[in-house]
């Protein structure tokens, strides 16, 4: 998706997609298909998935920081339920996850 305005707002509940895309992708496997909330919008960045191969990475893509509960990532997480992980995810790896059930 190319855009100049951020598409997601802080607090939106989002699912990180598993695009199955090979190469220099910046979405690690361990967060794919996991749900978190938008912690902040980081700005527009040239797409590193393109730039890694000598292309310009344009149009730029929106980058967000996603806050996930550790217990939502690791079912056997050994810690506290408040513990979180925050990670940067580009727009095209996200979709709205709807309300928490």
């Amino acid at each position: 998706m190319s855009e100049t305005q951020p598409y997601y707002e802080v607090g939106d509940r989002v699912r990180i997609l598993d695009l199955g895309k090979p190469g220099h992708v910046r979405t690690p496997t361990y967060v794919r298909r996991k749900i978190g909330i938008i912690e902040r919008y980081c700005g527009m960045f040239e797409n590193p998935e393109e730039r890694a191969y000598g292309r310009l990475g344009l149009p730029p893509v929106a980058l967000y920081r996603i806050r996930l509960r550790q217990m939502d990532i690791w079912p056997d997480y050994d810690g506290q339920s408040d513990d979180v992980l925050e990670i940067e995810i580009y727009d095209h790896w996200l979709e709205h996850a709807g309300e928490n059930l």
């Binding site: 361990y30 980058l63 050994d78 810690g79 506290q80 990670i87």
Partner: protein, 210 residues
């Protein structure tokens, strides 16, 4: 004085400069091509290497110490880290820097699971542990255990937040000013701030009780 011939230096270490790894060979080939074609020259390479070497944990420590003493500077450091660095004459080469503040109820630590992204302008080269696969895989999955191995054990009411530096931002953790550091000046405070506490794997040193 000892007779030089009568004591043993042990075997001399063999230099192994001749065998290149594949990536070293590729790097040298690329560098030669760029230089032969006049795209870069040796002075530019040297200048960049010198700039890289300006980074050291002391740069981040200076900024954090100043922020502990000066609320206006702290606000600037949190909102515009590059401007705060520039105020101390520190040149930032990273695109985006983010400062995350530890609080009594939230401790933060940084890892780059995909490679070894690191705020080199403010911290220098990353330590070996930061680049290791063990840290990169474990910090996101069992941060409390990793922290205990670094000698930091947080009670349950302190939330642990792990920041994966996986894309375009680079992270600096602002530790809490240690108790007993009242009356220390900026330089004395900076001496308490270690590399590992800016990565979030340690706490600042305790001030010496005089």
């Amino acid at each position: 004085m000892m007779n030089h011939e009568n004591h043993d230096h042990g075997p001399t270490r063999e230099d192994n400069d001749l065998e290149l790894t594949e990536s070293e060979a590729r790097f040298l080939a690329l560098k030669s091509l760029l230089m032969e074609n006049g795209i870069i020259d040796a002075d530019e390479i040297r200048a960049r290497m010198e700039l890289n070497e300006c980074g050291s944990p002391h740069q981040a420590a200076r900024m954090i110490a100043k922020a502990w003493l000066d609320p206006v500077y702290k606000e600037l450091m949190l909102s515009d880290t590059k401007a705060a660095a520039a105020e101390l004459g520190i040149e930032v080469t990273e695109a985006e820097l983010v400062v995350i503040e530890n609080t009594p109820v939230r401790h933060n630590m940084v890892v780059c699971t995909l490679c070894s992204c690191y705020p080199r302008s403010l911290l220098g080269e990353p330590p070996a542990f930061y680049v290791s696969k063990a840290y990169r895989s474990r910090a996101v999955k069992e941060p409390r255990k990793v922290l205990r191995e670094f000698g930091v054990d947080f009670p349950d009411h302190v939330e642990i937040a792990v920041h994966d530096s996986n894309a375009d931002l680079r992270y600096v953790i602002m530790p809490m000013r240690p108790a007993g550091s009242d009356g220390l000046n900026e330089e004395q405070l900076a001496a308490l701030i270690t590399r590992d506490c800016v990565v979030g794997c340690a706490l600042p040193l305790q001030p010496l009780v005089s």
